[in-house]
Symmetry: C2
Subunit: 413 residues, 2 copies
Amino acid sequence: MQTLWDYRYAQRTQRMASSAIRELLKLTEQPDVISFAGGLPAPDVFPVQQFSEASVKVLSEMGAQALQYGTTEGYQPLREMIVRHSARYGIEVTPENVLITAGSQQALDLIGKVFINRGDRILVESPTYLGAMQSWNVYGAEYVTVPLDENGMVTDELEGALRSGPKFIYVLPNFHNPAGVTLPAMRRQKLIDLADEYGVPIIEDDPYGQLRYEGEHQPAMVVLDSKMRNCGNCYSGNVIYLSTFSKILAPGLRVAWVIAPPEVISRLVQAKQGADLHTSTLAQILAYEVSKGGFLDEHIKTIRKVYGERRNHMLAALERYFPPGVEWTRPQGGLFLWVKMPEWIDSIELFKQAVEEKVAFVPGQNFFPNGGGHNTMRLNFSNATPEQIEEGIARLGRVLERAIKARAAAPAV
Amino acid sequence: MQTLWDYRYAQRTQRMASSAIRELLKLTEQPDVISFAGGLPAPDVFPVQQFSEASVKVLSEMGAQALQYGTTEGYQPLREMIVRHSARYGIEVTPENVLITAGSQQALDLIGKVFINRGDRILVESPTYLGAMQSWNVYGAEYVTVPLDENGMVTDELEGALRSGPKFIYVLPNFHNPAGVTLPAMRRQKLIDLADEYGVPIIEDDPYGQLRYEGEHQPAMVVLDSKMRNCGNCYSGNVIYLSTFSKILAPGLRVAWVIAPPEVISRLVQAKQGADLHTSTLAQILAYEVSKGGFLDEHIKTIRKVYGERRNHMLAALERYFPPGVEWTRPQGGLFLWVKMPEWIDSIELFKQAVEEKVAFVPGQNFFPNGGGHNTMRLNFSNATPEQIEEGIARLGRVLERAIKARAAAPAV
């Protein structure tokens, strides 16, 4: 249908993510497809009963407040709870350092709005989180990349990228999306040191940090940065830290948080005012009510147990069903692992074959800002049951083996 | 505190609304101040019990869905309900024309993101909704204005503004924020005709249209536009229509909707993906559950009764307490009325005196994109009780009389 809007789109819409990947992923929504494509938490661990009880309590005791407009900064008891929660991970801040956002996706959008001028370079890992690029492309971001290995960002290759003068560094240090890898303490320190040397601030995106299934907790970059400045556990503010209730409580709430210096929070608040006034009051108060009194900590233990088992099931199934020549990461936490296939495989072609076999993943090239990764894929292990993981990986193994056999049988060119 | 972020703000942050007005309005939050400054619904009409029952039902019957990620477009049964609801006002659309947003504020932000290039002119009423400017300033919008009178936009002055080549027209036809005025059918038709002649599309922002306390419902611009195109009640799509649950159900949900052609919806969906993935699933499902089965229609009748009475109280109090030489609009619905004081009064100075007298309003100049309105103010009548309205307007009348007396007593210059 022709309308007057047709020729009026802003230039920046040309940089919005093409819907090709969305169209592709719609194929995975058929009910008989076992999908490792999404990044969905397991609905069976949602604390539904606790939400039901909290709803009744909140609406009877403070219904007028829960249904009314709220402040842009967020529900004050929730901000205070996040301060206490953060302190347990060594992040020493006050409520003035905390902004509640409508999911971490909104935090990324507001950061783009507040910091990115057209043509600014953002230093990212390659691959990196697709959603960050979706937010920042519309503000005209360009990307300078540093590769990942099984220990996260290869910090030995960081200086070259820093010399290009990036606006900021964006890093997912824990259980990386999509790669599933974790940055060890020494690399974190090196990243902090080099960022300081070059005067480049850091966005630390940490949606999964609390979902560790093995190994030792690694210090947050925001903590290392503060320590380096010799002010004890003070908050120096060169690292903006993002986290969320989506993976530890429920993503349908759309409640997450930013930790930043008060001056940055103030700019983000102005941007959020124009973006949506404030995050759903009811969702924020429910997040607070369900989490408080130690429930969140107990619940995180439950999630770790369930997802840890699913990760183990997927790793075991990969050993059993995937052909030689295919490699994958062994994440110590989070929701994803990353598969590298032989160089000649095109994962978009493989995706189409997989969907016919009723199994799905995300082709990896979407996560590379400047190209690459055609022979990679991301697998999610949190959403499918152990039985589905077993069956789905078996199907995917068959698809891979068939592709390898077909190539072996093809006449040499 | 000095941080590395200090010199890294994007140019567009210079166009974010100054926090002067926000700082001013913080003064109104003292508990003993009677505030006519906000745009808050009355919490005593929130259907708290219905929300409580709906929460228990939703969480027990579909908790896993309510707490999980959802589609960017919105909860399908809610989109379908909005289609049925809109049809009763003559707006004939399908769910593909509906996008659920996190409040109408987000709809304005997404429209800015999708349509506004730096320097684009937007045709607005003067005064116009402050929040629209807050959203659009960051995308570099400029404004070309058409004045309002007691019947809304003065359409006789529209052609001059249209000749400047605006990207689109933004209009609040019903119970205007801030002015409280309503555009009669003849002016609506003239606006539609001229927009068509000049090929300029329209954003129709209608948060209050259902809250009419007297007079006849005026046809939505989106309906007039479709009719003009001789396709019966078809939806031609040159008007994007915005409405919300904030004023008819509860603003704390942050659930609103856009009606637009599918092509525009698709762009807005892409923008929303990068902005917050989707609107809170729980909030959407609750909005649907509480509204369905006729409850919303009954509830709107309750709101009309309560707010209509409050409007009457305020109009009566203004007659009683305001000195001669002060004029105000007589809104047929909505939440606001608009006061014009003698030319020599500066409403920001008056605001400071009013807060000392424990009463507050919004100084009017904030609503004028290109200056003006220093002697105007916006009064909200939905949030205060009849007793507070009586007392607050009496206080404000005293402040005004004192200012007038002080001027009369001052020696002529």
